[in-house]
Each structure stands twice: as structure tokens, then as C-alpha cells.
């Protein structure tokens, strides 16, 4: 069911909808109509969950009654603020800190689910980040327990979680009666660097560049020699990298206009929710480099809308500069859903075998087989995690769009939020290229430091030693497991190679799934391998277990384990791995 409300220019959400109704998904279409502010002013207790800290900072500056909760704010501080609050509680919290609100309410005997209205802002982020922020889905599990709750997003989203249907959620769509479309130029190019360089040289305006890669931003700053004219807003980790490793001082984790320069870079932490209130209208560049890192891939229907919506006082121009890779397979939503349902069926069949196993040994074997089925990635605490499924579908859909520039163009044209002009700029292949420099402190070096610390903790471990190991495990569980299983000498012999260490750990487990685990360790999704390498590697793995197959191993054997398409690797025949089959 869908309800529509019209909004006129200059009107705010509270003018047409005084109170966000419960059990609704509010698709507000345009940013800056005051949905969050409406809830802050609503006469009820509210918990507003937002994806990142910057939005909390920005709202706390404007509304003094907000209790902002994020990393570094303790549960005791939350309790103190709740006790001191004399009017309606207005809590703004990140998913990672939501547990503090729960604890504080428990201690104060506040019935959380009936007292508060829960509003999840920027709801598309619950799908976008589901694969790497488990707290997002944990918070959503709690969301469904609230008596009164709603989701808000400026971008259209499809949730497959059946609880939305069983709890009778209704969609509310806000329809602007005025022209709200963004003018954007989509520039398809084979040289992101040259395109940025040209724009920087010709533009006289202030420029805001949205690029989600600290290493790529740093390489651009160095190559374009713009260090004195630019600032970077990124995560705290990024700031430390810029200041500590790249010796670049103008990097910040919280936004303030005074810190901005002629050219200002923003990473994804600043794509959503917070307000960029500038005294001028900048040129905005959105960058996607499919060859650099997948973190830079922007979804036309979510990221691009969100980014342009940050500028509360408007922009001068917007350019989305991107490249494409024809090797990226094109899959539509229905095809992905069909594949997932096949994997789900396979998982359910195996689950039935597991549940009905007659012996302990059979149960163990089915348990191991269950783990190897790709659908097991979408199971959390024995339940299907629909947000992870939506995330997978979303990611593959976004990825598919960068296989061909026509798809990007058509996505822009299909969206009713953009007025598009499209450019194709192809440079000669010998043009000056950007080489992305990576951090000098590699994970390998950091892991060596950790192993040295672990080696200095002597057994039997004291209580303090166990606490240190627990701390380290929270940071890098992989290296702790490797150290405990293999020891320092073996890890050093393997030269801290993650692939080799994983292989040694798999060999150590002896769970019957070693061959498949080793194959998955050697071959990665999204990579291309030559036929020669595939045959060599499969032979190497089989020979480790003295397995001699009746037929000679050929490269297409890889298709038993992965969905593949043929491709060329340095002029040799090979395969591109699309996704796991086992």
C-alpha cells in the first residue's frame, strides 16, 4: 500500500505531515525537507538511528536537546543525560552505539519498546552497509520490536524482510510539486585522472570531490600537486593515515566550512544525512574508478542523489566521472533473485539432511557441507538475514551498471531525479596515468608487530595476558588464530602471506572440507585466472591430499566451484570468476 503527499517549494515535511506515522517507510524523494528535524521537534520520545557520526554532530549543534550517542560516549553518560532531560527524550545514535541506549534504559527501568518512537534515518544504508556492519542488522532486529517505528530515506529502496509485510508497513511517498531535479553531466572516460585534471585547471569555482578512497585521494593530491589548495574530510582512520603516513595536515574527520579549501575531498562517511551549508555554490565531482577499488562505485539511484542532496544552498554544477569495465557481467535483479532462490533451496535441502541425520558423524558431515553452501553467508544466528540478501542484490546490480556506459546513461535517464547530459571522453592509451600509492604500513608489517607482542606473552597466561589477547583478537582475529595454531616461526616462514597462512590453517583443521576450502582460498571472486594457473593450482591442491582424479584436470574444472565466464588473461585463455557455487 502506498500513500502520497504533495509538497510545495519552501514547505517542510512537518507542514504536510505533522507527525511521521508508525509502521511506515517514508520515501521523501528529496533531501533537506526536514524529516529528521520533524522527529526532533515531535512531542514524543524518539530514538533516531543515523548511519554516521557527522550527522549527529551537525544536528547536535542545531538542537541542544539532542542526546548524541556514538563511539566514545559511555552508557553512564547516556544515563546521566536521560536523568537530566526534563522534556521529551531525543536520542540520536549510530547503530554501533545503539546497545548503550538499550543498557541505559534497562538500568533506568524505562520500557524501551513502548516508550520511544524509533526512526531509522537514511534507511538505504541498512542495505548498503549490511555486509560489513553487523550492528546495522542487529539494530534492525530490535527496530521490529518497537511499538512505534518508521524508516526514512530520500532514495527508493526495496526491503525483502517479511517483517515489513507481517507488521503491515505502509509506504509514504512525498511528491514535490516543483522542479527538484539535479542537472548532472555523466562523463565516461578511460582516464579519470586526466578528466579531473582538466576540470581542476578550467574551473574557477570551489570544487567538492566525492571519492571514497584515501589512497586514491592522496595519489591525486601528489600527482596534481594541489596539497596547499585542498582539504580532505574522511574517517578518523583516514585522518591518521593522511597525517601520520602521508604527512598531509589538512585532513579532518568532522566537517566545518572554515576547514574547506579551493578543492575539498570527501569520502563516503560524508555522503549521507549531514548538511553541507556553504556560503557559496561549488562545482561537485563524483568519482567512480572501477579499476581502483569497488569502494568508489557510486549507485546512481542512491549515492549520487544523496551526495547532491548534502548541499543545502545548492551547487553550481555536478559531474559524475566514471570508467567502465566490459568484463563485468551484466545481471538484472530478477536473475540475481533467481540464483539466490536456487542457493536457498540447496541450503534448505541440506539443512533437512542435517536436522535428520541419524548418526553424529553424518550430522558433522552435513554441518560442514552446509557451511560450504553460499547461502550460509546470509544466515545470522540461525535466521535468514534479509538485509544481507538485499545488500548482495544491490551490490551486484550496482556492479553490473559499470560494465557498459550505456547502462549508466540509461539509469540516469530512467531516474526522475536528474536532468542528464552525457559525455564520452576517450584519451590515447599512452596518456599520463595515475598510479595509486598504497600505505607504507602494510597489514603485513602490522601483523608482524602483533605476532611479536603475542610471542612475548609467555604461557601460562596471566589474567592481563588474556586481556591483551582479547584486545588483539578484537582487532585481528585472523592473526591471533594463526599464532595460536601455527606459532611465530611458521608464520614467519610463510612470510605473513595471508593466503599461505590460511592454507596452513585449513590443513590443520581436518574437517573433511579441506579441498574446497583451499580452492576458495586460492581463487577469488571478481578475479581472472589463466587456464595454465587454474590447472597448476588445482593439481597442487589435489596432490596435497594424494587425490588422483580419473580424468585429467582441465581448466574448466573451476566451473564446478564457481560461476565463471571465459576471458583473456595477458593474451592467454582463462576464466573470470563471478560467484561461488559451493
Amino acid at each position: 500500500m502506498k500513500t502520497q503527499y504533495k509538497i510545495n517549494k519552501g514547505q517542510y515535511l512537518c507542514d504536510i505531515l505533522p507527525l511521521i506515522p508508525s509502521n511506515t517507510i517514508l520515501y521523501k524523494k528529496i533531501t533537506g525537507i526536514g524529516a529528521t528535524t520533524a522527529e526532533i521537534k515531535a512531542e514524543r520520545h524518539s530514538i533516531i538511528v543515523v548511519p554516521n557520526k557527522p550527522v549527529i554532530d551537525s544536528k547536535c549543534k542545531k538542537h541542544k536537546n539532542i542526546i548524541g550517542i556514538y563511539e566514545g560516549i559511555s552508557t553512564n553518560e547516556v544515563i546521566k543525560r536521560l536523568i537530566a532531560d526534563t522534556s521529551f527524550h531525543k536520542i540520536m545514535v549510530t547503530p554501533e552505539s545503539y546497545h548503550k541506549v538499550k543498557k541505559a534504559c534497562q538500568k533506568l527501568n524505562i520500557s524501551l519498546y513502548s516508550t520511544f518512537f524509533m526512526l531509522c534515518d537514511e534507511a538505504h544504508q541498512y542495505i548498503d552497509d549490511a555486509d560489513f556492519r553487523p550492528e546495522m542488522t542487529e539494530t534492525m532486529n530490535d527496530f521490529f520490536l518497537f511499538e512505534n517505528k518508521a524508516l526514512v530515506s530520500a532514495t527508493p529502496i526495496e526491503f525483502s524482510d517479511p517483517r515489513f509485510v507481517s507488521q503491515g508497513f505502509v509506504k509514504i511517498e512525498i511528491l514535490p510539486t516543483y522542479n527538484y531535479r539535479y542537472n548532472i553531466t555523466a562523463i565516461h572516460t578511460n582516464s579519470i585522472y586526466m578528466e579531473i585534471k582538466n576540470i581542476l585547471h578550467t574551473s574557477t569555482n570551489e570544487i567538492c570531490i566525492f571519492l571514497n578512497s584515501v589512497d586514491m585521494i592522496h595519489s591525486l593530491i601528489e600527482k596534481l600537486d594541489i596539497g596547499n589548495d585542498c582539504a580532505v574530510f574522511c574517517s578518523e582512520k583516514g585522518v591518521r593515515k593522511f597525517i601520520g603516513e602521508y604527512n598531509f595536515p589538512n585532513a579532518y574527520h568532522s566537517w566545518c566550512e572554515d576547514k574547506m579549501k579551493k578543492i575539498t575531498f570527501f569520502t563516503s562517511r560524508f555522503y549521507n544525512a549531514f548538511d553541507l551549508e556553504l556560503s557559496y555554490q561549488p562545482d561537485v565531482l563524483l568519482i567512480t574508478d572501477v579499476f581502483a577499488t569497488h569502494y568508489t562505485w557510486l549507485d546512481v539511484n542512491t549515492d549520487c542523489i544523496q551526495i547532491l542532496g548534502r548541499f543545502r544552498n545548492g551547487i553550481n554544477s555536478a559531474d559524475h566521472i566514471f570508467n567502465t569495465n566490459r568484463k563485468i557481467p551484466n545481471k538484472d535483479r530478477d536473475r540475481i533473485k533467481w540464483e539466490l532462490s536456487a542457493h536457498r533451496h540447496c541450503y534448505e535441502v541440506m539443512s533437512t539432511y542435517y536436522e535428520n541425520a541419524a548418526t553424529k558423524e553424518a550430522r558433522f558431515a552435513f554441518a560442514e557441507a552446509l557451511k560450504s553452501i553460499p547461502f550460509s553467508d546470509y544466515i545470522s544466528n540461525g535466521e535468514i538475514n534479509y538485509f544481507k540478501i538485499d545488500n548482495k542484490i544491490h551490490n551486484i546490480c550496482v556492479q553490473s551498471t559499470y560494465g557498459d556506459y550505456n547502462i549508466i546513461e540509461s539509469n540516469y535517464l530512467k531516474s526522475d531525479l536528474f536532468v542528464l547530459s552525457f559525455k564520452n571522453r576517450i584519451y590515447p592509451s599512452d596518456i599520463d596515468k595515475l598510479v595509486i600509492s598504497h600505505s607504507k604500513f602494510t597489514i603485513r608489517v602490522k601483523r608482524a608487530k602483533i605476532v611479536n607482542i603475542l610471542a612475548q606473552l609467555k604461557e601460562p597466561y596471566s589474567e592481563t595476558d588474556i586481556r591483551i589477547i582479547t584486545d588483539i583478537r578484537a582487532i585481528d582475529p585472523f592473526i591471533v588464530e594463526a599464532y595460536m595454531t601455527l606459532g611465530k616461526t611458521v608464520i614467519e616462514q610463510l612470510k605473513y602471506s595471508e593466503k599461505k597462512i590460511k592454507e596452513a590453517l585449513i590443513m590443520n583443521k581436518r574437517n573433511g572440507m579441506e579441498v574446497i576450502d583451499l580452492i576458495k582460498n586460492s581463487f577469488k571472486i571478481g578475479c581472472r585466472y589463466s587456464n595454465k594457473f587454474i590447472v597448476q593450482e588445482l593439481n597442487r591442491i589435489y596432490s596435497k591430499f594424494d587425490i588422483y582424479l580419473s580424468k585429467k584436470i582441465r581448466a574448466n574444472a573451476i566451473s564446478q566451484f564457481f560461476e565463471v565466464i571465459p576471458c583473456k588473461v595477458k593474451k592467454e585463455r582463462g576464466y573470470y570468476l563471478i560467484q561461488d557455487l559451493v
Partner: protein, 142 residues
Amino acid sequence: MRNLPNFTNSDAHIFIKELMQSKEHLDITMKDNPYIEVCTERVANFPYFINNVSLEWIINYLKTGRHDDFGVNPNKRDILGTDYQTKVLKDLVDKGYPVSRVPFIREYMPHITIIVFFLFGKLVFRLKRNLQIMDYLNSKGI
């Protein structure tokens, strides 16, 4: 802080000295207030309130194995300030002791764990992460 009934700071002092006399490897965790937690591989953590002199006594044992506690009054309270942990750490860094920091890999944690390994034990700091301390540690290559 763990509550140990009828276990005064003088008792803790005597117990630490006994551990020192038997050349035990002491694991010391610095805490605010100011107190420290002491444990060994056989003894669980127990609290010991510190002042300037007793802290020096403990660090001296960790370095040299000497347990002489002349002039150490465990019941004397000094105002060490809220940043005394950082001061102690900086002092040890300046004196060139081998200070190891548990590096962050992909995600940053709210606390930084720093360990100073000595011949007769180790001193563990769990400092709240902030820009100042991170800058300091980076500048010292830690």
C-alpha cells in the same frame, strides 16, 4: 575495580613485595584514580593504590628485580592528575624503553593498548584514543 574485602592497600603492598622477593614476573595494568592492577601467572588481578614513590618502586622492580621498598608508604595519597598515565608512558618512551603498541588493522578501537616489556614483568596501558596521544605515538614511531 575488583572489591577485595578486608584487603587494605598495606596488605596489597606486602603481597606485592612477597611476589617481588620470589622474583615473580609481575603484570601491571595502569588504571585511573590512580591505582594499578597487579597479577602474575598464578595470581589474579588485585588493585593497589599508588603514589609517586610507590609507582617508582614498582617500575624499578620491573626493570631491575630489586624489591627494596625503603621510604614507600602505601597509604600516602598523591594527586597524580588525570593524565598521569600518559606522563608515565612518555617518561618511559623518553628513557628509551621498548614500548609496543597493538596496531589497528582495519577498524579503529576506542582504546589503544600499549605494553612496555621489562625483565621482571610488563606494564600495560589502555589509553582512551584521542588525536593528541595518536600524534605523540606516531611522532615517536610507536
